[in-house]
């Protein structure tokens, strides 16, 4: 059996074009706005996001990136979860948009109260972001984002996230596969071996 995290790490290194060590893989949060902007303008010249303004998108992307962080393996950022969220909020999750905007406002007022000089959530360091999120993790806003992040990370890439199936690679899962052959895993393979020897 291959070690799944090594496999996905290699694939991630290859697909992201990052050549040096793990420290460069870690995308700094202050750079998130720039990254989402750049990615969007590359993707669609006219409008960055369909349903979110750039600042809100950066905050939501930052939250998603704390839920599924980028480590030596891809996280929400590489999966493009924010594109999933932006699309969903104009479609099947439309009903959530208002609540999320209100939740973001509340979050950013916490940012200005607790971190003088900082503007928005997306600009904070990871540790400060985690602290703020921990404080609201039992509330509806965080739970909506949590559900959207998990969905966007693992849903078929046609929904906007799970870019190049990075999420599936991470967990050693191939959701596009049709038929499978027996044996499926280690224990049934061992069982079959013993049976044929016995």
């Amino acid at each position: 059996m291959p070690n799944n995290s090594n496999v996905s790490r290699r694939r991630f290194l290859k697909s992201s074009g990052v050549l040096t060590g793990a420290s460069l893989l870690k995308i700094g949060t202050p750079a998130l706005i720039a990254i989402t902007e750049a990615a969007c303008s590359a993707k669609q010249e006219a409008a960055a996001f369909a349903n979110l303004n750039v600042a809100a998108a950066a905050d939501l992307a930052a939250i998603a990136a704390r839920i599924m962080p980028t480590t030596d393996t891809p996280g929400a950022t590489e999966a493009g979860v924010i594109y999933f969220i932006d699309r969903a909020l104009g479609a099947e999750m439309q009903g959530m948009l208002e609540g999320l905007q209100a939740g973001l406002e509340d979050l950013n007022s916490r940012v200005t109260n607790q971190h003088t000089g900082s503007g928005r959530f997306a600009e904070l360091e990871d540790g400060s972001q985690d602290e703020l999120l921990t404080a609201i993790e039992s509330g509806g806003f965080f739970n909506s984002l949590w559900m959207l992040t998990i969905s966007g990370f693992f849903a078929m890439s046609s929904y906007g996230g799970n870019n190049e199936n990075v999420a599936w690679d991470l967990i050693d899962f191939d959701g596009n596969h049709g038929a499978w052959e027996y044996p499926f895993g280690y224990y049934d393979a061992e069982y079959a071996k013993e049976k044929s020897i016995g």
């Binding site: 995290s5 949590w146 693992f154 849903a155 999420a167 895993g185 049934d188």
Partner: protein, 549 residues
Amino acid sequence: MTFEQRTPVDFAIIGSGSAGGIIAKELSTAGFNVVVFEQGKYRKAEDFTHDEYSVLMHSELLGGGPQFSGQTFRHDESEVAKSPVVQPIRYAQTVGGSSVHFSANFWRLRPVDFKERSLLGPISGTNFADWPITYEELEPYYTKVDWEIGISGEPGPFDAPRSKPFPMPPLPLKSCGVLFEKGARAIGLNPQNQPHAILSEPFNGRAGCMKCGYCMFYGCEAGAKSSTLASMIPLAEASGHCEIRAESAVFRIETDSNGRASEVLYYDRDGNEQAQKAKAVIVSANGAETSRLMLLSASEQHPDGLANSSGFVGRNLMFNAHSSANAVFEHQLNEYKGVQASRVLHDFYETDEKRGFYGGGGIDARSLWSASPIFHALLGMPPDVPRWGKQFKDEFAHNFTRQMTLACATTSLAMDRNNITLDPKNTDQWGRPAIRATYRDHDDDLSMAKFLQDRAMEILDAAGAQKAWADPIHPTDGGEHLLGTCRMGDDPTASVVDRYHRSHDVPNLYICDGSSMVTSGRGQPTMTIMALAFRAAEHIAAAASAGEI
């Protein structure tokens, strides 16, 4: 085949699922003209996907989620029923009904299930009763299900007697089954192959299972799952006597001045009211929908609902209680491949007075959460792992292919307090009053669920799990098995239909689905619903031919 609405057809069948699909096939191939009403779409094998986001998160096959279904739930009468985020009553709205999206674990009932009340005596506060029929009477129809629907398996040590072998060998043993086998044997238990309504090899012109892993909640794109969509409805349509009228939501059965069912009223796909005249009506809409329709069809002659002079319509709802235990193992199991369940054990099927409570059940080894990633991430992670952040991500990446679940299913006791009624306020997408479920498991059912879960934890430990945990047991807030709400019986004051599924009150109205069941069995009711449907169809056809309907 399209039938004219103003000319009475021989039978209007409401529901195309496990019972409706079979009855439609049996009656149409016998030459009767039937119209089958299905509120869901007519999806075929090629319409089914592996789209977890749509199927699981957006209830694609359940009708689109609670905002459309309008179902409400409460634990007891003192509460105002609410429409929760997750649909409380989970059945598929699609041609073939829930036989399309179920996991296809296929257990027969046993002789004891039909006469347990006589063997054990009454249980106070419940409507615990014997069935009006025996296992021996139903056995030929179980065999018909085996051979006409298509079942894979092999006999186990405690199985009820069978008149013919399984038509197909069992599906391949999965890793969860190997580990279950090891753990259960180590503590002296007797696991066996899980029988499935899934073809392990080509059968009756249908393809065998390709082991894609998308059984539970999904439709089978290969047609290997033995839904009525795959097995019965093609035969019904080929007879030239059956019309499947999909996207047609029945809201009333009209009765004439003689108190006989005369017409079925329904909303078409555009929401317009339509009517179909029929000589007789068969309701196979499931234990929740059937009850609602009976209650909605109240009239001057039937003031408390159609066929409800006993007051038993909607009562005695039984979900089967459930519990589960999960474990992580050292190596990869890859439970996302192949069918859900692999091995099952029935050592605890019968009530044992030494346990101190009524009930029995089974434990099976399955993927459950680990069949697909969103489901696993939302519901399947160990309780001591944070829900987000690096540790969550790392452990999830590690666990997804290394986790399995032992699922325990038990008896439910029939009680007045557990029922289906019409919601006084909420409606569904067609404007029908919402189905209101009121349900609190009997203490014995929860005790049985706990007993099995404790055994499951012992099995996982004996199997060498690196880590195991039990999901908390609490009174359920919904269910998939919709049983008992129009029970069969010989006494018209304590049952809704007779032993042949004819309603006691309305001679040309039959009801056959999970609602007919008097007791709940031990957890996998569909095979029994299908056997009852074959048996009912035989009697209905005979009565119709003799001019007795």
